[in-house]
């Protein structure tokens, strides 16, 4: 099925892949040639000049300057080619294209999250349009990770203290493996994701869907889905146990005691404010650590979350 894959390398699905592979096979064939040369010479000599019986004085041919020069200089020629070729592609890999789909990548133990400019976001699944440059701006929440898609021949470490960038342009629709290639602890080998390359229209549709309930889904179900995909689940349970944040069970329509001693009614506006400006009203007994979702969660999605919270309140 994978027509571009070879014995050594997986299929080529990005615009730079063929360039990388070209150099790979150039070095490969040079190496095969050199290895064959070395092995052949060795085998030939050890067989031809194997010891037969007693030893005797051997050849006094002990050095030859021109031979030394020849075998030092000749290999430098392919080496220079390899250096120039490799650097050229490398620079291409690092020169960011101007008109690219920009995605913010966040790595943490042990999953990837992707944020799109229009507010869509996803976890462990990067969805990108085919034949368009995609530029990733990446950072880590904890230790170093590394973004690696073999089929695209791209890899870049993701650092906790600054942004690193990477771009690629996928050349065919399909789903490709995404690995974490820098050791990051227990879940390192499970820090896998997918890159799903789709057509332009599918991409637009997908991004849209992230913001409104998919066809046929009720508002409540959409809220429940957002609860997971927007990571509310990290801090809020739905079964009444308090986590980093209060549980969502029996919040809506109930009175809430705030840290400053006020009591407020948890109505639509309160929930909305809690999401967009969490520090405005801090619940008693909790630290004000909830991030703001301003610009990340759209109005329509807040409606869905509210609808979902309603189902959790008795």
């Amino acid at each position: 099925m994978d027509t571009t894959s070879t014995f050594w390398l997986p299929g080529q699905y990005s615009t730079i892949a063929s360039d990388v592979d070209g150099l790979f096979y150039f070095i490969y064939w040079c190496s095969v040639f050199l290895l064959a040369l070395v092995t052949a010479a060795m085998t030939l000599f050890v067989i031809r000049y194997r010891r037969r019986g007693k030893v005797s004085l051997t050849s006094g041919f002990t050095h030859n300057t021109s031979m030394e020069i020849v075998w030092s200089v000749i290999p430098t020629i392919p080496i220079v080619v390899v250096f120039m070729w490799g650097s050229k592609t490398f620079i291409r890999m690092h020169a960011m294209p101007g008109n690219a789909v920009e995605v913010k990548v966040t790595a943490q133990k042990w999953f990837w999250s992707f944020d799109y400019p229009d507010g869509a976001s996803s976890v462990n699944e990067l969805v990108v349009p085919v034949n368009k440059s995609v530029k990733l701006t990446m950072s880590s929440q904890d230790v170093i990770h590394s973004f690696f898609v073999p089929q695209f021949r791209v890899k870049q470490d993701v650092l906790p203290n600054r942004y690193t960038q990477l771009w690629f342009q996928a050349t065919a629709r399909g789903t490709y493996n995404l690995y974490c290639a820098e050791f990051c602890g227990k879940g390192h080998s499970e820090m896998l994701g997918k890159v799903r390359v789709v057509s332009d229209s599918e991409f637009v549709k997908w991004a849209d869907e992230q913001n409104k309930p998919p066809e046929g889904m009720s508002l409540e179900d959409f809220g429940a889905q957002l609860y997971k995909t927007k990571a509310c689940v990290t801090c809020h349970s739905v079964d009444g146990t308090a986590g980093t944040g209060p549980s969502f069970k029996n919040v809506f329509g109930h009175e809430v005691l705030l840290a400053d001693g006020r009591r407020v009614m948890a109505d639509e506006n309160y929930v909305r404010e809690s999401i967009l400006d969490p520090r405005a009203k801090v619940v008693n007994g909790f630290q004000p650590v909830m991030p703001t979702y301003q610009g990340v969660i759209k109005d329509r999605q807040i409606d869905a979350i509210i609808a979902y919270l309603k189902t959790l309140a008795k």
Binding site: H94, T106, D115, T137, I297
Partner: protein, 140 residues
């Protein structure tokens, strides 16, 4: 293995005048540093320090009279130290200059956290909401 050169005993005056030269250079370097000369502060201070170091090496440590091997060895060490610093700075000083977008700045941390132990939160980046789904166990 070369002769009796180690019997070479320097006259008292040599040590005293080298010592005096070192003191004078110290005074000069302190004096110069009282003026703001921009770049030149660094250059002058390092030049004087290097001269002082050379005096110590040549006379106190006898490099001028001893086997040249020691001088060569010392120079090699300094060379490799220079290689280390220069090639490392080749990275640290040219990061993010090359074909990169502008957003790519180091995250600015507050000056050191005042409360030991508590300031460890990882840098918070531009927006929130990247913390999707902490998969305690939900990831395969």
């Amino acid at each position: 293995m070369s002769g009796k050169q180690h019997h070479h005993i320097l006259p008292l005056s040599t040590y005293l005048s080298v010592g005096a030269a070192l003191l004078v250079l110290t005074v000069i370097t302190v004096a110069v540093s009282q003026y703001q000369l921009g770049e030149w502060n660094l250059i002058v201070a390092m030049t004087i320090a290097t001269i002082k170091a050379t005096l110590v090496l040549l006379f106190f440590m006898h490099l001028k009279y001893d086997n040249k091997l020691y001088a060569v060895a010392f120079l090699i060490a300094v060379t490799f130290l220079a290689v280390f610093i220069v090639l490392t700075m080749l990275d640290t000083m040219t990061r993010d200059e090359f074909g990169r977008g502008s957003i790519d700045k180091p995250v600015q941390y507050q000056s050191a956290p005042a409360h030991p132990g508590e300031g460890e939160e990882p840098a918070s980046h531009d927006t929130a909401g990247h913390t999707a789904d902490t998969a305690d166990s939900s990831h395969k």
